[in-house]
Symmetry: C2
Subunit: 356 residues, 2 copies
């Protein structure tokens, strides 16, 4: 930090994004991107006419994309906040509801960005231990009397609370905001609580175009909530960066969310690949969580995950390994195509065989 | 605000973007966009291959665009911070150097977003009155002992301090950051102080692709400074939104800044149109500031600017009028094409004639 930087930022440990290696061509299974390209409608949307219009500012009200999202989830556009990625949305939420001394809580093992947001905006964050099997104990969150953020399904564990369990948490914390980060929910049938936003004013659901919509490079995320909570985020956005989503992102994301058929097809395919991969790993004696996401979370006693990570990387396959308490025995592997996953299983067999 | 929002935001007045009216086809001269499309190289860059790669995350390090900007300004990539528009960059700068009780100062008449940033991040902002002729009194900023932000050229006045005057301010405030917001500097020959960033560790220059690069809808802005100041902003970015610039913006902006010839041509054309417009207004007895930007700032005693704004709007021409102390007699008009500006002058003549 320079001598000019405010001292209050001394203690912040910034978030570390997953590796983006370019030294050779990898099977890239380390940052939970989709193996499928975005809907063909995205390509149609990003046409010459649109590009010629870039001399003009984007619409700060984000009318078109809000209408498309609202239509998909059967809510009103006033209940939608759109950000430059869902990190942007969650950052504004921490700032709005927890800034300068407010209280939030979340599981101790979850998306590692939450504690960073808390540090940045001076939020008191309680990190509540998961159970030994990595599941969330719902009782820890009932009548908690703090704002709550839960990734559901959770990362990197892949485990999901049920719709009923989430509703219980929301219902018993009426005076606090409950944020459900549903980045991976499209891969977990019957889990999303978007349908509850009209019933509970304190519920905010966040989602992203980065996973199930195959648009990680486009940076679009959003929340669905009561109009009151949306208005709070809008106030901060108009005080920070009113044009936070650009013209190309607006049009591409609108095209993507309007193509429901392609979305359903790629999700079904991803879930099939995930179940196949889980089975293959279980056959080989791996411990595998019941992931409801587009990745698996697993370990084996045949090779430490840190070494498996290295060995796979040497063979052109990137997975993620977390050198962190309680989860350092595990690895996280995003789902590629069926062909890629068959190849990965083969390579894992080779690596383990070499050690026998 | 909802009952969940932190009370500290009660008093914030969010920024109001310029009107984006769509009820009919306007000659749009109200938000300082370029009348020219972006470089043809932008269209080439946004090709099918690139769009197919959107399933992958964008590069959080922004290597490619940083290298292109560094190359243009003859500095190193480590001296470049890139944001989602220059509002994003300036927001991070207010947060980094002024957050929670730090001190900034700026002119009282300037980009109206600065006081909003100050409110949001709890920065004490001193607003120093411009002189009666709307110029900045350099003496007000010498050895000020506070962080300083100055738009140069200033908006909406269009007036610029000289390179020497800015250097004097930077040099006499070595213990504070001096931010020069050069959004319009490409239209003001010999005014930019980018060449001083290696000499003064406390100098940060911000620029944007929204004006001279014809890419307002793309949301890309950047700063050039010492590596130390860049690192400070990077720390905040990695604690807020690491993937703040998307893949399409990276590629399009890189293409735009690499096309120096097109950039020089469109700037020369804009300056020609500005000088033509100023002369035409002066011929008609208007008071016109010596704008060094892509807009003119003017008034006439033949019709109040608020009414001129209304009359032009009724005739399909949008300009900007500020209902604010000291400048409410003036209007601000962005430069369109030569044809558009000839038409606008004609219409102004008609409006004034009708009143005689």
């Amino acid at each position: 930090m320079s001598s000019f930087m405010r001292k209050e930022y001394d203690s912040i440990e910034p978030y570390t994004p997953g590796e983006q290696l370019n030294d050779k061509k990898y099977i890239k299974l380390n940052t939970n991107e989709s193996p499928f390209p975005a809907s063909p409608k995205v390509l149609e949307a990003l046409n010459t006419n649109l590009i010629s219009s870039l001399r003009l500012y984007s619409d700060p009200k984000l009318k078109k994309i809000k209408e498309a999202i609202a239509d998909f989830y059967d809510v009103t556009p006033e209940q939608i906040f759109v950000g430059n990625g869902s990190d942007d949305v969650i950052a504004f939420a921490f700032m709005a509801f927890g800034g300068l001394g407010g209280e939030f809580c979340c599981p101790d093992i979850t998306y590692s960005f939450y504690p960073v947001f808390a540090d940045l905006f001076k939020v008191n964050l309680e990190q509540i231990p998961l159970k030994d099997d990595f599941s969330i104990d719902v009782n820890d969150y009932i009548g908690k009397n703090k704002n709550i953020i839960i990734a559901n399904p959770n990362a990197p564990t892949g485990l999901a609370l049920t719709h009923e369990e989430i509703e219980l948490i929301v219902k018993t914390n009426p005076h606090n905001v409950v944020i459900i980060d549903e980045a991976y929910v499209d891969f977990a049938e019957n889990t999303s609580v978007v349908d509850l936003v009209n019933q509970y004013e304190n519920l905010m659901v966040t989602q992203t175009f980065s996973k199930s919509r195959s648009l990680a490079g486009l940076r679009v995320g959003f929340s669905v909530s009561s109009k009151a909570l949306t208005d709070d985020l809008e106030k901060l956005k108009y005080s920070f960066n009113p044009y936070n989503v650009n013209t190309l992102s607006i049009e591409a994301a609108t095209a993507a969310i309007s193509d429901r058929k392609y979305y359903e097809k790629t999700i079904a395919e991803t879930v099939k690949i995930r179940e196949f991969t889980k089975e293959e790993l279980i056959k080989r004696g791996f411990t595998v969580t019941d992931s409801k996401t587009n990745f698996v979370f697993a370990k084996t006693d045949k090779i430490p995950s840190s070494e498996l990570y290295e060995e796979l990387r040497n063979r052109g396959i990137l997975i993620r390994y977390f050198n962190a308490p309680r989860i350092s025995e595990y690895f996280r592997m995003s789902m590629g195509t069926t062909e890629q996953m068959k190849k990965v299983i083969e390579v894992i067999d080779e690596i383990i065989k070499e050690r026998e």
